[in-house]
Subunit: 332 residues, 2 copies
């Protein structure tokens, strides 16, 4: 073994904290410039990339382990929506001055827990310094049978529109994080408040449903930039429209409590980001089977509307289409 | 077609400038959350990721098209060193306020030219805003026959150590960029000065040699953090040492001129970064065949030393081992 003096600070950091996460044979223990992936026979590799920047996508005081898990889960959520089984991921991290090794250790610990939990090992990456904002970019890889990736552009007129879990929690959680007094205005219990904060801090990607998505969905994407905007993207890619019954959009008890205290929050709920649920379309006769498989995996699935001809996603409440000030969340 | 009002600023930007680069079928025209790659039959997919941050890896006044080409070429260089043929790439870009669309247009134009030239189309990516420094991260994919990726860790005692092209130009180019007066101190012609600046600005990755690397090399990596440091990494990974004859390290006429004006520049030449040449090891009897294939591709290949038992890479000049103040370039 070379002495410690012989190794750069970067190599030491990588070896100590990220080396143990590189359990795939193709990662070569992070001792090479590149990694290797061999998709299972007959499978395509699905690629997705998503990143976060401190102050833009997370708060600087968020726990480092949760930041790590969130950025990995953002990518896992994309794989779930495409019907893909996780294979592994690459990570680029740019560290600002003043980030201590304890931050990195906690970050790597959270990342490692999720890598094991979701069966998605670290394959390689790139560590660098940045003058200002910490940023992390992950590229995740998944496997689907050849030609079977579930796309955005293949929804059919007459399909049901389905969402998983509950919508709007994370967007309400961000508001609570910025202004703790809102919990009182919204008359939330401590448990309801914590639920919303937690949903913002740590997404629950629906990878347990990937096989069911692959089996039943005609089109799918994950809900990361708000249900209204993301469904609009799916409609546009498919050349269809959609009519959504707002009363059927699934809400958590906490979101329902906030909404009954402040009715205008319906816009935050439907257009806010960071849900990391799935929105999918499927032939109506397949919904019961999809819901049964989802419930077996402990996840709710709710039919919220129908794919129509025309264009745009209309959110109907008491027979009227809601108009949103900002239909899709955009970091621009 | 939806009206422009119907599309977010981000989607407009992507569609206009990056959409035309997404020529691979698996990119789905950038209209999906994910992309698909199917490696050629019998092939593994080689993965590598590398990025740049304004002010750290490039100067804010560098031409945007050259910045784009540099970050793609940094990744292409890794693929070349692994013996892999380019398949495509993903890109994450974080834009600070004040970046105009003309910057993005010029960036995309340079990127597109190289994507065509190197046969490496855009597969997908992620565009975001950052409060401060522009950053770009690319993940590139290549194909090698199953199990054949050329690694760092497989150099054998007795092998020749070979480098491509010339070493040290880019590191001298960075010094010139920071202090134009050095050109006079070093007594460079205008052509020599421009050569060094150009070598810093725009690497020439050796992808034309990937097939020869695959055929002949026992181990290889690209030289991006300085020859001395990178060769040391290769030696450590392989559990070997190396003895390099400094007089045989290939220098451009410009680097040779600078060195004769200022002998201490040998350290910059051997330890500075951004060469994007290849360093490889091979059985001595294979060198002539490798060199012939390299010269057919218009690239010089030079034998500079030998793999030894022991550890560390010793750079011998007039029989003495050079000692470097900072053996490997590290952004830390």
């Amino acid at each position: 073994m070379p002495s410690d003096d012989d190794i750069s600070a970067e190599e030491r950091l990588i070896a100590r904290h990220f080396g143990p996460l590189a359990t795939a044979p193709g990662a070569f223990g992070l001792h090479d410039d590149a990694a290797v992936v061999t998709p299972p026979p007959g499978c395509d590799l699905v690629l997705t990339t998503d990143g976060v920047i401190a102050g833009v996508h997370f708060f600087p005081d968020d726990p480092p382990g949760d930041v790590a898990r969130k950025v990995l889960r953002m990518n896992l959520s994309d794989l779930a929506a495409k019907g893909a089984r996780p294979v592994g991921f690459l990570m680029s991290i740019a560290l600002p001055p003043g980030i201590g090794e304890s931050w990195i250790a906690a970050f790597a610990e959270g990342l490692g827990e999720d890598a094991v939990h979701y069966g998605c090992p670290l394959l390689g990456g790139d560590t660098d310094h940045t003058p200002v904002s910490l940023s992390i970019s992950i590229t995740a890889f998944g496997a689907v049978p050849h030609g079977a990736m579930v796309r955005r552009s293949t929804a059919k007129v007459g399909d049901s529109v389905v969402v998983t879990g509950s919508i709007g929690d994370a967007a309400l959680g961000v508001l609570l994080h910025k202004d703790a007094a809102l919990a009182k205005n919204w008359r939330l219990s401590d448990g309801e408040r914590d639920h919303l904060l937690r949903r913002y801090l740590l997404p629950q990607p629906r990878n347990a449903l990937a096989a069911a998505v692959l089996k039943y969905a005609s089109a799918a994407m994950d809900v990361s930039d708000g249900l209204a905007g993301d469904l609009k993207k799916l409609c546009r890619a498919s050349g269809v429209g959609a009519e959504i019954d707002v009363a059927r959009v699934p809400l958590s008890d906490a979101a329902r409590a906030a909404l009954s205290a402040e009715a205008s929050l319906i816009e935050t709920i439907l257009t806010g980001g960071d849900d990391y649920e799935l929105v999918l379309t499927l032939p109506p006769e397949k919904f019961a089977a999809f819901r049964a498989e989802a419930e077996n995996a402990g996840v709710a699935a709710t039919e919220i509307g129908r794919v129509t001809s025309g264009q745009g996603a209309r959110f109907l409440k008491d027979g009227n289409a809601l108009a949103f000030a900002q239909p899709s969340y955009s970091h621009f």
